[in-house]
Symmetry: C2
Subunit: 337 residues, 2 copies
C-alpha cells in the first residue's frame, strides 16, 4: 500500500475556525484515501466538532496546540513567542517530516515568517514567494509574488519565474508554461528600474518560456500562465481583482432587483450568472503555496469554508506526489552552474 | 459678454480620428456657448469632416498641422522632431495663451513629455501626474499618478496628494476630499520603502485630509476620493480595472446567451445591466488631466468617440473657470514657506 500524504491543518486559523476547518478535513479524507490529516489546535474544540461526523479514524488525528496567532499580531514576534500556537506546531510537524505539508487560513505574515524560520528555504532560494492562482477567461494563471516581502531585486524575480513555471507545469499539466512580467507597456524599454533590469535576465534563461511584458489589462484575458511581479504590485493586483469582481457583481445583482421586469429576468438568468460568478471567484482557486521551502506550506483564504479547506488539502497530494520541492531544488541548484 | 474658453483639440490623435474628434467638437460647441474649439491637424481632412455638420462658425476654427505623432514613436524624439505635428502645435497654442487648454486622444507619452517641454511646469512642481477618474460604487475617485514617470520619491507623492485634492474639490464640489495611499495592508508600519517614507509626510500636512493606507480591494467600493500612488502601481490599477471589468462583463453576456431560458432573461434584464455597465466604464469618466502644468493638458481615451471627446472638451471649462492651475500654484508655493 502506498504511503498516505500527511497534511497538518491549522484548525484554528480563519474566520470560521475551527468548525469549517474540521468539516473540510473530514470531507478531504472522505474523498481521497491517499490523505491523512493532522488537525492542529485546541483539542477540546476540535474534538467537539469531530463528534458531528463519521470518518475513518485512521485518517484523522488531533495534535494539541493551545495558542492561536491572530491576524493583527506582529508576525515575527508571534512566531518567536507563541511556541504552542497551531501555526508553529504545524510547521514543526513539517520540519520534522511528520507531515508532508501544512495548510492554514491564518495570518499570511506569520506563515511567511514561520516558513522561513521554522520550515526553512531550499538551498539557493533567495525568497519564498506566495503564488496564488487567479481566474482568467482561459482558466487560471499564477501570480507570483503576492507575499509581504516587497522591494524585490531582479534575481528574485528570475527565481520566481523558475519556481512558478515548475509549479504551473506540475499542477496544470502544461509543458513549458508561458511566463510574462507585469509592466506598464508592451515594449521592451518601458517600465520601472526593476522591470528593466529583470527583462534581459528572463530573456536569457533557456528554461523559462518568457513571452515578455504583459500589461495589467491583459491579465484577466489569460495573457500568460505565470505572471511574475514584485510582491507589492502582486498584492495590489490580487486584491483589486477580488474587490472589483465582488463590487461589480454586487452592483449587477442590485440592478437586477431594481424593477419587476428585471426581477423576472434575474430569475431566469440565475444559473448562467452563477456559473460566471464561480469562474471569476478568487476563493474558488484553492490555497496558495509558498514556493521554495523545504516542505509545503499552503495559505488558504481567510474566509475559507469547508470546500476551500478540502481543496487546499487535496492540492497537497499533487504537490507531494509530483515532488515539486525536489524539482525546485534541482532547478535552483542548476542556476549556479 | 464673458470670454469663451478656448480649447485646442488634437484632431489627429485616437483610434477614430479625425471623424469622432471633429464630431465631438461640433457637439461641444452646440452644447455650451462658453466654448471655442481650435481643431488642430490636417486641414483638408478636418474640413472634409466639418462639411457634414452645421455649427456656429465663430465657435470652431481649424489650425493646420501636417504631421501626426504615432503611439509607438519615442515620445521625446517625436516631440523634438515633429514640430508640425498636431500635438506640438496644440501645445504651442496653450503656451502662447492662444488656447486655455488642449485635449488629445493621442500618445500618452508624447503628451507627458510635451507637457513638460512645451507647456512647462508650475514653479515648484516636481512632477506632473496624470490623474484619471475611476468609477466606484459611491461615484468616482481620482487615481494619481497613472502616467509614465515611474519610481517616484516621497515628496512627489505629497505633491500628488495636494494637487489631487484641489482638482477633486473643484470638479466634484467636495470640501476637504479624503486622501488615501495605496498599500498592501491597513496598518501604518506596512508597505514598501516609498509608502513607509511617504506616510508620515502625508500625516503631517494640515491641508491634506489624509485617511491613511488603503488596500486595492477597497478602491472599487469608493474608499477615498483621492487615491495616491506611484505611477507604475497606478497604471497597473487603471489597466486591470479596465481589463477586468470588460472581461467580466463579456463573460456575463456570453453566459446569458448559453440557453434559451437565459436569453429570455437577458432580454428582460438589458436596461438594468446597461446602467451598471455604464457606471463601471472607465471611458465614461471623461479625460484625465495632467496636473501641475502652466496650462491645461487633458488626455482623452485612445478609443474616444464623439461623446468622450465632447465630455473632455467641456471638462476644460470647469478647470479654467475655477482657475485650478492658479490654486495649484498657490498651494505649491505655500509648501516652501
Amino acid at each position: 500500500m502506498e504511503k498516505k500524504v500527511v497534511v497538518a491543518l491549522d484548525a484554528m486559523g480563519g474566520d470560521y475556525a475551527p468548525s469549517e476547518q474540521v468539516k473540510g478535513a473530514v470531507e478531504a479524507v472522505g474523498e481521497s484515501k491517499d490523505i491523512k490529516v493532522l488537525l492542529v489546535g485546541k483539542e477540546d474544540e476540535i474534538n467537539g466538532e469531530l463528534k458531528k461526523y463519521t470518518f475513518d479514524k485512521e485518517s484523522i488525528e488531533v495534535v494539541h496546540a493551545d495558542e492561536v496567532i491572530a491576524n493583527d499580531e506582529s508576525p515575527t514576534k508571534a512566531i518567536r513567542e507563541k511556541k504552542n500556537s497551531s501555526i508553529v506546531t504545524a510547521m514543526k510537524l513539517v520540519r520534522e517530516e511528520k507531515a508532508d505539508a501544512m495548510v492554514s487560513s491564518g495570518s499570511t505574515g506569520a506563515l511567511l515568517v514561520g516558513g522561513q524560520l521554522l520550515v526553512g528555504r531550499i538551498k539557493g532560494v533567495k525568497r519564498t514567494p506566495l503564488a496564488p492562482f487567479i481566474p482568467t477567461k482561459k482558466g487560471a494563471s499564477i501570480l507570483i509574488d503576492c507575499g509581504a516581502n516587497v522591494d524585490a531585486r531582479p534575481e528574485h524575480l528570475v527565481q520566481f519565474a523558475r519556481m512558478g513555471s515548475i509549479y504551473y507545469k506540475n499542477v496544470m499539466g502544461k509543458e513549458r508554461p508561458t511566463v510574462g512580467i507585469v509592466n506598464i507597456g508592451s515594449e521592451e524599454e518601458k517600465g520601472n528600474q526593476l522591470v528593466k533590469d529583470t527583462f534581459p535576465l528572463l530573456k536569457g534563461c533557456s528554461d523559462i518560456n518568457f513571452v515578455g511584458n504583459i500589461e495589467a489589462r491583459e491579465i484577466p484575458k489569460g495573457a500568460c500562465d505565470v505572471i511574475v511581479t514584485e510582491a507589492f504590485v502582486g498584492n495590489v493586483i490580487l486584491k483589486l481583482f477580488e474587490g472589483l469582481a465582488s463590487t461589480l457583481l454586487g452592483s449587477i445583482k442590485q440592478g437586477f432587483l431594481s424593477s419587476f421586469r428585471s426581477k423576472i429576468g434575474a430569475l431566469l438568468l440565475k444559473p448562467a450568472l452563477k456559473k460566471t460568478l464561480k469562474q471569476f471567484d478568487v476563493s474558488e482557486q484553492g490555497g496558495a503555496p509558498l514556493l521554495g521551502l523545504k516542505g509545503l506550506v499552503v495559505k488558504a483564504h481567510g474566509n475559507a469554508k469547508s470546500l476551500d479547506t478540502k481543496c487546499a488539502i487535496i492540492q497537497c497530494v499533487t504537490f507531494k506526489k509530483q515532488n515539486i520541492s525536489r524539482q525546485i531544488k534541482q532547478s535552483i541548484a542548476g542556476e549556479e552552474k
